[in-house]
Symmetry: C2
Subunit: 219 residues, 2 copies
DNA sequence: ATGTAAGCTTATCTACGTTAGCTTACATAC
DNA sequence: GTATGTAAGCTAACGTAGATAAGCTTACAT
């Protein structure tokens, strides 16, 4: 007879009460979430590592998810939903501190960048196509698009100096995303470059693209 | 008895002549190069796939490379060296067409971006940390830094309008890299966004960061 | 004819996704 | 209070793929 929870040293996880089996579903998603956050830049995402974190046997994942890809899709949804919340919270905070559209946009930008630097594993999954579910679920391609929408609205409200490279808020928002994403991605992937302070970096990128009338910043 | 070149359908590769065994080394690197270029965003880079492309048996790789990581390092070196050449060629072309520093910088930017869009597999290896050799070779961290140096020099020579977000050419070059890298990376990873023409994208990003006196562009 | 360079086969150990079917313990019925 | 159905999660096993070690085969230069 082999020890339970094959391959583990730790304690067996207490079984959920009868009728509460669905709890495990959430615990598995949480475990997958944690696995993704600690994944090296080139490590595979395995179901078995998820099971280990969740302290369950690998096949128990199949009780709640048809296969690895379905689990992955669920985690991706959670990750993107979290992004929406994080940025909205940052914007709300800036607004309640009296910030106008420029300050709010900056707050959103900074929140996104800070998240990426603090959670490179998740950032890579979200925006670098790291760990893709091999499903042709149409949702996958459009995850993340909502993040752009709010940015367009804010840009529309920001009074600008002359010298913007485009008059189209949608274009500006795309350019801004390019700059910010590039900053996070490069900083993660080329950490030995001569990186300035994050706030300064975000402000310079956002200012270069948006060219707001406002002069300096706090946040 | 099993067929030679285990697992292959194709013909056996002609053996190198005596004394020319080193040729295989180059062929293996080339094969690895090709494997990387066709790798999906989340596929593992395997020695066996390299061997298959090189039409040799997997263990034959060990004749020339101590292990998978050493091979990877060799391919990375080749990839980065190629980048230097590609950009230098673009700059030279712009220069011989009478371009000044602004046109040369744009040419370099465009060459880098176009490369990324045409070779996303390689781009991800170069700049997104996709497939990392698990070696603490100090060279790995600093691969790519030389690409920045030339950009700094050019920026120093470009007359600018007022309104730059920084006076420091080194900083500007970093910001520019962020913008361009972000554009390539996002375009690869979020292809369903509303992407403009590549030249326009590159020009807008470069112009926003550098704020050159020059008005419009051709290339 | 033979030594040796060039590349091959075989084999081992590890890890993965996934299937099949088993164990355990609680809630209810008697 | 004992039996039992079933929910919850487990073990065992299969087939695939990977990195790598050990040693074998083949054909050319001498």
């Amino acid at each position: 007879m082999v020890a339970p929870n094959s391959g583990q040293i730790g304690a067996r996880r207490p079984r959920n009460a009868r009728g509460e089996g669905e709890k495990l579903r959430g615990e598995i998603i949480d475990a997958a979430f944690r696995v993704l956050s600690t994944l090296g830049p080139d490590d595979p995402f395995s179901l078995r590592s998820v099971a280990k974190i969740a302290k369950i046997a690998a096949p128990s994942v199949y009780i709640h998810f048809a296969n690895r890809n379905v689990l992955l899709l669920a985690v991706l949804e959670k990750l993107f939903a979290e992004q929406v919340v994080i940025r909205a919270a940052a914007e709300t905070e800036a607004a309640s501190a009296g910030g106008g559209p420029w300050e709010r946009l900056l707050a959103r930008s900074f929140a996104g960048v800070r998240f990426g630097l603090e959670h490179p594993g998740h950032y890579k999954v979200l925006f670098e196509g790291r760990v893709v579910p091999r499903l042709d679920d149409p949702r996958v391609a459009d995850f993340g698009r909502p993040l752009l929408v709010r940015s367009i609205e804010l840009i529309r409200e920001i009074p600008s100096r002359p010298g913007r490279v485009s008059d189209d808020p949608e274009r500006l928002s795309l350019l801004l995303w390019c700059g910010l994403h590039g900053a996070v991605s490069l900083r993660i992937n080329k950490p030995t470059l001569n990186w300035p302070d994050t706030i300064e970096l975000v402000e310079q990128i956002t200012r270069a693209i948006i060219q707001p009338k406002q002069p300096k910043i706090r946040i």
